[in-house]
């Protein structure tokens, strides 16, 4: 078998390969040899680290999973930052959670890299030399290579974060990922909307990161360490517990008292919430989810990787990794749900439902998927909130695959539609240039009209199933997995969550009830908008010429879709609950559960009996969703409809509300943004009036003082100088008498001295 | 000259009886440890001793003058004083009377005090010298532990009166003569002293008796050999330097008749001139006595078996021998030129005496404590070597001078010389 210890010990190679790739690509750009070469380097890098992490995962799957979880194979840790009495250690922590996620990231990223190597092909022709007018291929190559550099750096960040052994180190890679998301979202920086979206994404995640940072610092302040291993130890957790509620005054911060108006909240809960703030920002949970839909401005592979598979799931990973801290917030038994977990669960559930509902009323193919991602993340957070640890992680893994699949699928669709538009123009000549080009009105006041030239607007699509069969099939597989249709991976993981919620509801936890109810309705809504999407895009006749001419994508784009679809379908099987009637025993009694379960400090993570009800409920919800979707969108071709059928069902105002994302952006804009601007203006005014005033006053005072000084100087100082001169001249005249040059006189004086000396002695 | 010697002998006899009496007196004062004779006793004894010494010296001096004129006369093939008294023996007394009765003229321009004091102060140094002369084993006036040094110290004070005479008489020539005399005496004092250091080194003591003890067969002192045998060069230098000190020919520049009138005592007449003359002879005798002590072993008999004869006879014989040598020199050598005289002192005698001193030092260490014969052998070898070296040097110097001599003449003469030589060849 593979030697786990050796592998774990050298696990630091994983982030290194992609980092190496990043550096090599930089060199290539610098030496002007960008283009395809950089793509191959990036792919090679991520392939290497992906392979390594998969092998590591397989090795950890072996029997040693148990003790691996108990004593994570801490690879070499290097003394990184001198910290007063000790060093901040920089190392690699390999445990079931880390290994599994790393493997997932490796595979997903590999597929996405291959996909984007052809998808980004368009970069070469995109740029025209402003002076000469023809295509600036060099710039194109450089941009292409730049894309792959950013992506490789991002992969390094993700791997580093997942395998980090230390919170601060994790924070480091967390920031790298934030940076890469900003760079990649704003990749096409000549588009103002992209630049705007990148800034927005970065700012919002930063707010979340502040929470994370404060959480880490408090952990360090109270427990003196930020290593996962030492944090997870029961006694440090107990110590955290012992600190007890903050009575408002928090001493020990730099030696003076700090009054925190959070009377009553126990420190442990406070820390947990701060850390959760970080994941809210990064995983786009309710208050800070606004940046994810705008992040779709970036190229599709980016959205697929960063905003579906890896980065957003990092927030959830963080909570999973620090689960004991959250769980320990409860005073007594881990089984209880602590105050912190309450908050987590509530936010998770709320986000899930909210995002799902908004998703229904979106026309942009990628935005729908974006809201779907937010809602699925809400599912994971909700699961963690109620203690369904294994289910959450499982859903994290499965969701990564099928969401990546969906995004890449949509990318291939957009690609196809773009080609369709070009051909449309070229074949048709100016056919629909002027008159034919008309924007299909949404028919609903307040909802944007479909821009004929926007390849991403679903209203311009339709009937692509025939045009792009492979993409259609893989997209369909992804959709089925997402909506939780049985056998597909989505079902197992989402159902796991709901069944755990149901079980917890049984234990009398009020929050579990809320979670289950919202979860199930969200499942229904998810099924509905996915169905809507599928039908608008693939079913019925093509609503535009572009859709009519959309060709199938290139093989490099389609094959990753196939691989991901395989994962989307089969991955669920490793998590089939043991008690499941037919498949459970067949598949070895929920191996994933055993594998991941031991991580919890409690160790003996009991598996509750299988209860059919939640499963049936979720399947039912999925089915109704699909039915409704078919009913509204399946039968009649989208093109013909002047108004969105959903609007007619739920009423225009509600539809507009959903379409405009509950106007949250506008609310934020009105409150925060405009507020800070106003504050800034106030500041400026104050500065001008008060500060300048003071400065002028000081200068006036200075001038008065100077004049007094002048007077003193002329009177006193000159006086003394002349006095000194006079005294010294007097003295010198007197001395001249002594300096006669006669030797004998000197001798006489000398002996007078001797005489005095003798006299002293004698008398 | 010959009969002069027995005369000295007879003179010596008369003194033996006196000496018997004297020894009683002297021994009385021998410094036995602890003998604390009363102060008055010491004074009386000292005075008596002093008068005896003065008398002996006075008589000696008189007959020395007589002896000298007889000897010089004989050397110059003439008789010398024989009119006054038997063989002219009374001649000295005649001279003395003449001195006393001649008028004593004092130049008015002279500085009265200094002029007279000069004349007076010439005599004491000469006399005091005799205090340390050791006639016999215990027959010494003042057995100072630094006898030799005392003698030369007193010798050096003789310079002062010369200067006073020269300056006091306010006479250009006298002053010039005095300056010359002082320069000469001063210059020759250095070689004189340096020559005897070798002797002191071997004897290891300064007191006269100590010196004599270490020379003779009597007493088992270290060298046990007369120092003249060990230090011949030292003896020669001492002799020459002393003749210069006494301003006798060939070094008698100061009162060289032919040159500056009578030197520093031109203005002196009568008894004052006599005093200068008297002092000169005193120094001659005392110097030869010390010479005898230092180099000829004082009262030590040359060989052990001759110990019978009393010490003082040996002493007087050796002193008279040296006096004869001085007179002999006067009779035979021409006078040296002034610059040759001075150069001879500094450029010849001083270097040689220094070298001699170093060699003696080295040898003294080598043969320390050996038998007298061995010591004598070693030293003779060294001395012979030194003399040989000296001769070779002098010869070399003369050849060098000879070569240089020719080039001095004027070119014309050289041309003629060259022509002659060519002709001859």
């Amino acid at each position: 078998m593979l030697d786990l210890a050796a592998l774990a010990a050298n696990a630091w190679l994983v982030p290194l390969f992609t980092a190496l790739a990043f550096v090599i690509i930089l060199v290539q750009i610098w030496t002007g040899r960008g283009g395809r070469g950089s793509a191959y380097t990036a792919i090679a890098g991520v392939a290497a680290s992906g392979a390594y992490s998969v092998v590591l995962f397989l090795a950890s799957l072996g029997g040693s999973a148990a003790e691996l979880s108990r004593s994570p194979a801490m690879s070499r840790t290097m003394d990184w930052l001198p910290l007063g009495d000790g060093y901040l250690r920089f190392g690699i922590l390999v445990d079931p959670l880390g290994a599994a996620t790393a493997a997932m990231v490796g595979i997903a990223c590999l597929m996405i890299f291959i996909y984007s190597s052809s998808y980004m092909g368009a970069e070469f022709e995109r740029y025209t030399d402003p002076t000469s007018g023809e295509v600036d291929r060099a710039l194109g190559r450089a941009r292409y290579a730049r894309f792959f550099a950013y992506v490789s750096l991002f992969a390094t960040g993700m791997f580093g974060f997942v395998l980090a052994s230390n919170l601060v180190q994790a924070l480091l890679f967390w920031e790298i990922m934030g940076l890469c998301s900003f760079l990649l979202i704003g990749f096409w920086n000549f588009k103002p909307s992209a630049a705007q979206a990148a800034k927005k994404a970065f700012m919002t995640t930063r707010i979340g990161d502040m929470g994370l940072f404060i959480g880490i610092m408090m952990l360090f302040a109270f427990l003196g360490t930020t290593d996962y291993a030492s944090l997870m130890r029961p006694e440090s957790l107990a110590r955290l517990q012992a600190i007890g509620p903050i009575d408002g005054w928090l001493s020990g911060m730099l030696g003076y008292e700090v009054y925190i108006p959070l009377g009553g909240v126990s420190v442990a809960a406070l820390v947990a919430l701060c850390l959760f703030g970080g994941s809210i920002g990064k995983s786009a949970q309710f208050p800070l989810h606004v940046w994810l839909p705008d992040a779709m401005e970036g190229p599709t592979p980016v959205s697929a990787m960063i905003h579906a598979a890896t980065m957003v799931s990092a927030g959830v990973f963080l909570i999973a990794r620090l689960y004991p801290v959250f769980a320990s917030a409860t005073v007594d038994h881990p089984d209880q749900i602590s105050g912190a977990m309450y908050a987590v669960a509530a936010i998770g559930a709320l986000t899930a439902l909210l995002a799902a509902t908004i998703g229904m009323a979106q026309y942009d193919i990628k935005r729908v998927l974006a809201f779907s991602t937010i809602s699925q993340l809400g599912y994971m957070v909700m699961a963690l909130g109620i203690g369904a640890y294994v289910a959450a992680v499982f859903h994290l893994l499965t969701h990564a695959f099928f969401k990546a699949l969906l995004f890449l699928g949509s990318g291939s669709v957009i690609h196809g539609v773009e080609h369709g538009m070009h051909e449309g123009h070229s074949h048709g000549g100016g056919q629909d240039a002027g008159a034919g080009h008309h924007d299909r009105q949404s028919g609903i006041p307040g909802v944007a009209a479909a821009d004929a030239h926007d390849p991403q607007d679903m209203r311009n699509m339709g009937g692509l199933a025939k045009r792009m069969p492979l993409t259609y099939v893989t997209f369909l597989a992804g959709t089925l997995a997402l909506t939780g249709v049985p056998v597909f991976s989505g079902f197992w993981s989402k159902d796991e969550i709901l069944s755990d919620a149901f079980h917890k509801m049984g234990d009398g936890h009020m929050i579990a009830l809320v979670v289950w109810v919202l979860g199930t309705t969200a499942a229904f809504v998810t099924a509905f908008y996915m169905a809507r999407q599928v039908f608008m895009v693939f079913a019925g006749p093509p609503s535009t010429d572009a859709a009519a001419h959309a060709p199938e994508s290139a093989p490099a784009m389609v094959y990753p879709l196939v691989v991901l679809s395989v994962f989307a379908i089969l991955l669920g099987l490793i998590g089939v609950p043991a008690a499941f009637p037919v498949l459970g025993p067949l598949l070895g009694g929920n191996p994933f559960h055993h594998y991941m379960g031991h991580l919890l400090s409690g160790g003996a993570f009991e598996t509750h009996a299988f209860n059919a009800l939640p499963a049936l409920a979720s399947v039912g919800a999925a089915a109704t969703g699909w039915g409704l979707g078919y009913a509204l969108y399946g039968r009649r071709p989208a093109a013909a409809r002047s108004r969105d059928p959903l609007a007619s069902v739920i009423g225009a105002p509600l539809f507009r509300l959903l379409n405009r994302k509950y106007y949250i952006d506008e609310i934020y804009d009105a409150t925060f943004i405009r507020g800070s601007v106003a504050f800034a203006k106030l500041n400026a005014w104050f500065d001008r009036r008060a500060v300048d005033g003071a400065v002028n006053g000081a200068s006036w005072l200075g001038s008065r003082g100077a004049s007094v000084n002048g007077w003193i100087d002329s009177r006193i100082v000159d006086g003394t100088v002349t006095l000194v001169a006079m005294v010294s001249s007097e003295l010198s005249r007197w001395m001249r008498w002594l300096q006669t040059g006669r030797v004998q006189q000197y001798l006489l004086l000398a002996f007078v001295g001797v005489l005095i000396f003798l006299a002293m002695n004698v008398l | 000259m010959l009969h002069a010697l027995p005369l000295a002998e007879s003179l010596a006899e008369t003194t033996t009886s006196l000496s018997g009496w004297l020894t009683g007196l002297f021994s009385g004062t021998a410094p036995e440890p602890g003998a604390s004779s009363s102060a008055a006793g010491i004074i009386v004894a000292s005075v008596l001793k002093a008068t005896v010494i003065v008398l002996i010296v006075q008589i000696g001096m008189l007959y020395a003058t007589w002896g000298e004129r007889k000897i010089i006369g004989r050397m110059q093939d003439r008789l010398g004083p024989n009119r006054v008294g038997l063989f002219g023996l009374a001649q000295p007394f005649a001279d003395m009377i003449k001195m006393l009765t001649k008028e004593d003229i004092t130049p008015t321009a002279a500085h009265k005090w200094v002029y007279n004091l000069g004349a007076i102060l010439v005599v004491p140094p000469a006399i005091i010298g005799f205090a340390v002369v050791a006639l016999d084993r215990n027959l010494i006036a003042a057995d100072l532990s630094i006898g030799a040094l005392f003698f030369f110290a007193i010798g050096s004070t003789a310079v002062m009166p010369i200067f006073m005479a020269g300056w006091g008489s306010r006479n250009k020539y006298a002053l010039l003569g005095a300056m010359r005399a002082v320069a000469q005496v001063v210059s020759y004092e250095i070689p004189q002293v340096l020559s005897i250091v070798g002797v002191l080194l071997l004897a290891g003591t300064l007191s006269m008796n100590g010196l004599i003890h270490s020379q003779g067969p009597i007493g088992d002192a270290f060298p046990g050999v007369w120092f003249i045998l060990l230090q011949p060069i030292g003896f020669v230098i001492f002799l020459l330097a002393t003749t210069a000190e006494i301003e006798r020919t060939p070094f008698d520049i100061p009162e060289a008749e032919s040159e500056i009138i009578a030197g520093y005592h031109t203005e002196y007449a009568g008894i004052k001139f006599g005093l200068f003359y008297l002092a000169l002879y005193f120094v001659t005798i005392s110097a030869s006595a010390v010479g005898a002590i230092l180099f000829l072993g004082g009262w030590q008999p040359p060989f052990a078996f001759l110990a019978g004869i009393p010490g003082w006879i040996w002493m007087t014989a050796k002193t008279l021998a040296l006096v004869f040598v001085f007179m002999w020199l006067r009779g035979t050598l021409p006078r040296l030129r002034v610059d040759q005289l001075m150069a001879f002192a500094w450029k010849v005698l001083v270097p040689i005496s220094l070298v001699n001193l170093m060699v003696t030092g080295l040898l003294a260490k080598l043969v320390a404590g050996r038998a007298p014969l061995m010591v004598f052998g070693a030293f003779t070898v060294a001395n012979v070597a030194m003399v040989a070296l000296l001769i070779w040097l002098v010869a070399g110097w003369r050849r060098f001078n000879a070569a240089r001599q020719i080039t001095f003449e004027r070119p014309a003469v050289q041309a003629v010389g060259a022509a002659l030589r060519r002709g001859a060849a």
Binding site: T740, G741, R742, V743, Q744, L747, L748, F751 | S36, A39
Partner: protein, 111 residues
């Protein structure tokens, strides 16, 4: 020979010599006179040295044979000789340049 002479007599005589020498050095107009004064002062000091050699107990083991005083005196005598020689040479050369031997005339360093 009975009563030995107390030490301070010698010191007194030395002081007297030194004082007269000092007076000579200070008051004499003739440079040679000044030099003579200095010689006297040196002699005074010498008497002190020899007196101390003679009277003061020699701390045991300090000097090899306690002759420090005499050595001191001899060195002073030698130095006095050297000093006299050089001093008088100086005076003579100044006399040749200035035709005067009075100390007052030597007051300026130049010329």
């Amino acid at each position: 020979m009975e009563a030995s002479i107390p030490l301070w007599w010698y010191l007194l005589v030395a002081a007297a010599l030194f004082g007269t020498g000092l007076f000579g050095a200070l008051s004499r107009r003739n440079a040679v006179g000044v030099l003579m004064g200095i010689e006297l002062m040196l002699n005074g000091a010498n008497i002190n040295a020899v007196a101390f050699w003679r009277y003061i107990a020699v701390p045991s083991g300090a000097g090899l044979n306690g002759m420090d005083g005499q050595v001191f005196a001899i060195m002073v005598i030698a130095l006095a000789a050297a000093e006299a020689a050089v001093g008088l040479a100086l005076i003579i050369s100044i006399y040749r340049n200035r035709q005067s031997v009075l100390v007052e005339d030597f007051s300026t360093m130049r010329g």
